[in-house]
Symmetry: C2
Subunit: 180 residues, 2 copies
DNA sequence: GCTGTCATGTAACAGGTTACATGATTCG
DNA sequence: CGAATCATGTAACCTGTTACATGACAGC
């Protein structure tokens, strides 16, 4: 389980409410760890029960109250322990690759359409990452510490998307040359 | 759910027992879809109940009997329908990226050690894929149909591993330059 | 007889997904 | 007053993980 640790990292950077966290997971953190708001609320509740985070109810103007979570010293210790532990390599999951491999047993054109869709999606993500990179880190040479970490992880997202684009382009080129 | 569809693809290529399938998932198919033998046995049992696959008990010399599964016509129809349906982009999960982003809140040296471990693992995978590629597809220019599909998906694995290696190398270089 | 491999599972639990529920406030 | 947004959740279900269990045969 690592969602709780991803939340500890995000809350260490900046305390936040459940909804704010779920928005971060749609943006930067979602580049490398996906989570829905239901997962986040459930996990935050358990973490609060375990004393890893503390809640402060913050009244807002013109909006409902929000519960802002902050990492406790116990939570910081849990995070430090987890960071020092060995890291398993995450299992790979690519539904599209299963379809690409199995295209012979169905409508190949439909699989090519899925590949085209994914290619567009990965291009869009790459563009978003690169825009984010230019805006947030205009001069990477000056970065240190946490800023350097965040930039490098963003660079990883860029590389991953580029690898997808190259892979899917290869697939399309190979299969459009075959059926002209 | 896609394990059942991954099994249909693999069994379409060649009928197999549960153990043989789990070995395929440790080799080629595991490049893009991980599964343990427990998952495979459980899913095969359900697929048999649904009539997607049919079992033949095959006696062996000097070994226990094995249950060989083959795709039925109903299973082939399920696979064809699934191949024609839209494909969601799989959520991303990188525990190591979470740690790389959170390194400031723990022992950075320990995180660097994890990165080094993963780098070695990805280099080993890349070498295995490239060896497999040379042996199985010595001349990619002649490939068509399912062979072309399988080669292209293997190429995707190569690209993914290469992207990981570049990413992790960047991280290590940036952080060893920082602390000489 | 012990170890290793082949072969198939069961059971309990943790984690993720999907659908639905609730209530406040702002804006038109 | 109706729609949209903010904000937090519950419940049911499905999938994945981990640990354990069983039995046959081969080779030393």
């Amino acid at each position: 389980m690592a969602l709780e640790h991803a939340l500890l990292v995000s809350l260490s950077e900046q305390s936040a409410s459940g909804l704010e966290l779920s928005r971060r997971f749609e943006r930067s953190i979602g580049n490398f760890w996906a989570a829905t708001h239901q997962q986040i609320y459930r996990t935050l509740a358990r973490m609060e029960g375990d004393g890893w985070v503390a809640v402060t109810v913050v009244p807002q103007q013109g909006k409902p109250d929000k519960k802002v979570y902050a990492v406790t010293s116990a939570g910081a210790a849990v995070l430090a322990d987890w960071l020092a532990a060995p890291t398993p390599v995450d299992p790979v999951r690519s539904t599209l690759s299963v379809k690409m491999r199995g295209a012979s047993w169905g409508d190949r054109e439909a699989v090519l359409a899925s590949v085209t869709d994914h290619l567009a999606e990965h291009r869009a993500r790459l563009a978003a990452y690169e825009l984010n990179e230019k805006r947030t880190y205009p001069d990477p040479t000056v970065l240190t510490g946490g800023d350097l970490d965040r930039w490098l992880v963003l660079r990883g997202g860029v590389r991953t998307e580029q690898a997808w684009i190259d892979y899917l382009t290869d697939y399309l080129v190979a299969h459009t040359q075959e059926t002209p």
